[in-house]
Amino acid sequence: MATDSKDSSTGNGIKRRDFIYVASAGLGIIATGSAVWPLIDQMNPSADVLAMSITDVDLSSIAVGQSITVVWQSKPVFIRHRTPEEIAEARAVPLEDLPDPQTDEDRVQRAEWLIMVGICTHLGCVPLGEQGLYGGWFCPCHGSHYDTSGRIRQGPAPDNLVIPNYEFLDDNHIRIG
């Protein structure tokens, strides 16, 4: 045996046996990995959950100054028909006052309709409308204040409320997703 392994050494001193060790350890890792991956990936959203991707909403019944909450991908989405004062207020804020600078124009497709995911960017509570120090939304969980454009102004939340993808199908209908 001893002479055997000597004979099978290559010039670099790599032995046949070393190669077999490395190859079987490598294969073992790949095999274990491919067995473990399904066990991890099963926890990701399943096909039927992924399929619930779009929501259509009729805006005609929402009066100026009113908001509704619709469900999209099991998340609340706020749709607010903003008053002219709210729009003016949101547009008057200098960008340097914002922790997450973004103009109001960038956050809406049509100025009177503010559409955003109603989930606080801190730890996921649903903020309350027409409350807080900036006349927008207030998250009671840890005290985040959002303005009339849904931008974070004060409190632990790092980002503005998220704008989902949506399009106006016509003047009174939108499709979220």
């Binding site: 991890i40 959950v49 991908q73 730890l123 996921g124 649903v126 009671p140």
Partner: protein, 427 residues
């Protein structure tokens, strides 16, 4: 003493002892285990925690026979347990209040360790295993609280799972992996149920390691000095079996008062409102035993960045999460942060104060955690958090170098140092 070693009597016991010496193991653990003779009642809480764990497992397995973990049915199935299942109300109230009793026992057990220096050499592994049990308990209790699928269940789960979204880059992917969806929902409830059933069994495994590690070095004691010989010890049975039984009776009495007279005092009324993903309750609070950590999570409301620029290195959300995890993980390093060779606070004049101030800090953080983040609360939370971490990271290392301990007694049997400086007689 007759209980010193195990002598199998009778044919069957000798036969068994040669094949599977499990009775010998039990005898060594619960009968002949040599124990310092000066343990006080603070040493009762380990065995109490073990008994509460058994109560939780038994009541939990029974609840599982009637509980339904689908998001549509979970809340109703818990009401079905309360109203229709024979003695269901009793079993559920014992389980729900048992969680609180478990944490009371374990918190007292941990503060006992802090006061008497039980985490120091040679018991570091014992302490570390204890911190592992604490982490597993927190996970178990958190997932258990989600199961009744009330408003606090749902929103507590939402807030805590969202903690992981603070992790840079992969945070959101991890959160959606935890949820199995885009929000806390049916798949989340099902997996929490599976894990809530599993983790207590993992806890039992770690408890066995914890007791094994205890028995290698033996118990610490209120004087914090080493056992010098058999004269310092008594057998576990009957001495501590009796003392533990008396403590158990008192503890069960308190437990029963909660179960029968104030079954919902430690819970939150909002959890009797079915989960509603569109409405967050006015004021989300976790169970009382998480309040200090919740206060630490909320304590940090500012970003850390490069001064004079807009560059944010660590945002407030991530900092809060880091502070909260640090406040638990720092316990793992405690045996090395406090390197004073004197264990018991009785002989550490400054540490004794530091201990009590730390204790009050934890109570204050608990209070802040229960309040809305308004007025003075955010400041108290920040001060409390900084003090909590500084206690471990600055005060203890400093004390271990500069504190002058009092003279230690000769031995457990000889605890009093005579005024003349000579020591008394062995009894």
């Amino acid at each position: 003493m007759s209980t010193d070693t195990y002598n199998p009597k009778g044919k069957f016991f000798r036969w068994m002892d040669d094949r599977l010496p499990i009775i010998r193991l039990m005898h060594g653990t619960f009968v002949s285990y040599p124990t310092p003779k000066n343990l006080n009642y603070w040493w009762n809480f380990g065995s109490l925690a073990g008994i509460v764990l058994m109560i939780m497992m038994i009541t939990g397995i029974v609840l599982a026979m009637h509980y339904n973990s689908s998001a549509d049915a979970a809340f109703d199935s818990v009401e079905h347990i309360m109203r229709d299942v024979n003695y269901g109300w009793l079993i559920r109230y014992v389980h729900a209040n048992g969680g609180s009793m478990f944490f009371i026992a374990v918190y007292i057990h941990m503060f006992r360790g802090l006061y008497y220096g039980s985490y120091k050499a040679p018991r570091e592994m014992l302490w570390i295993l204890g911190v592992v049990i604490f982490l597993l308990m927190m996970m178990t209790a958190f997932m258990g609280y989600v199961l009744p699928w009330g408003q606090m269940s749902f929103w507590g789960a939402t807030v805590i799972t969202n903690l992981f979204s603070a992790i840079p880059l992969v945070g959101d992917a991890i959160v959606s992996w935890l949820w199995g969806g885009f929000a806390v929902s049916d798949p989340t409830l099902n997996r929490f149920y599976s894990l809530h059933y599993l983790l207590p069994f993992v806890i039992i495994g770690v408890v066995i390691l914890h007791i094994w590690a205890l028995h290698i070095q033996g118990s610490n004691n209120p004087l914090g000095i080493d056992v010098k010989g058999p004269q310092d010890q008594v057998n576990f049975h009957p001495y501590y079996i009796m003392k533990d039984s008396f403590g158990l009776a008192a503890f069960i009495f308190v437990f029963a008062v909660f179960v029968f007279y104030f079954p919902n005092m430690l819970g939150h009324p909002d959890n009797y409102i079915p989960a509603n993903p569109l409405v967050t309750p006015e004021h989300i609070v976790p169970e009382w035993y998480f309040l200090p950590f919740y206060a630490i999570l909320r304590a940090i409301t500012f970003d850390i960045g490069i001064p004079g620029t807009d560059i944010v290195l660590l945002d407030a959300k991530l900092l809060g999460v880091i502070a909260m995890f640090a406040s638990i993980l720092v316990l793992f390093a405690l045996p090395w942060l406090d390197s004073s060779p004197v264990r018991s606070a009785r002989f550490r004049p400054i540490y004794k104060w530091a201990f009590w101030i730390f204790f009050l800090d934890c109570i204050m953080l608990g209070y802040v955690g229960s309040q809305k983040p308004e007025g003075i609360m955010p400041i108290l939370g920040l001060v409390g958090t900084v003090y909590y971490l500084a206690h471990f990271l600055i005060l203890l290392p400093w004390l271990s170098r500069f504190e002058k301990p009092l003279p230690l007694p000769e031995s457990i049997s000889n605890p009093v140092i005579k005024a003349t400086g000579e020591v008394g007689h062995e009894q």
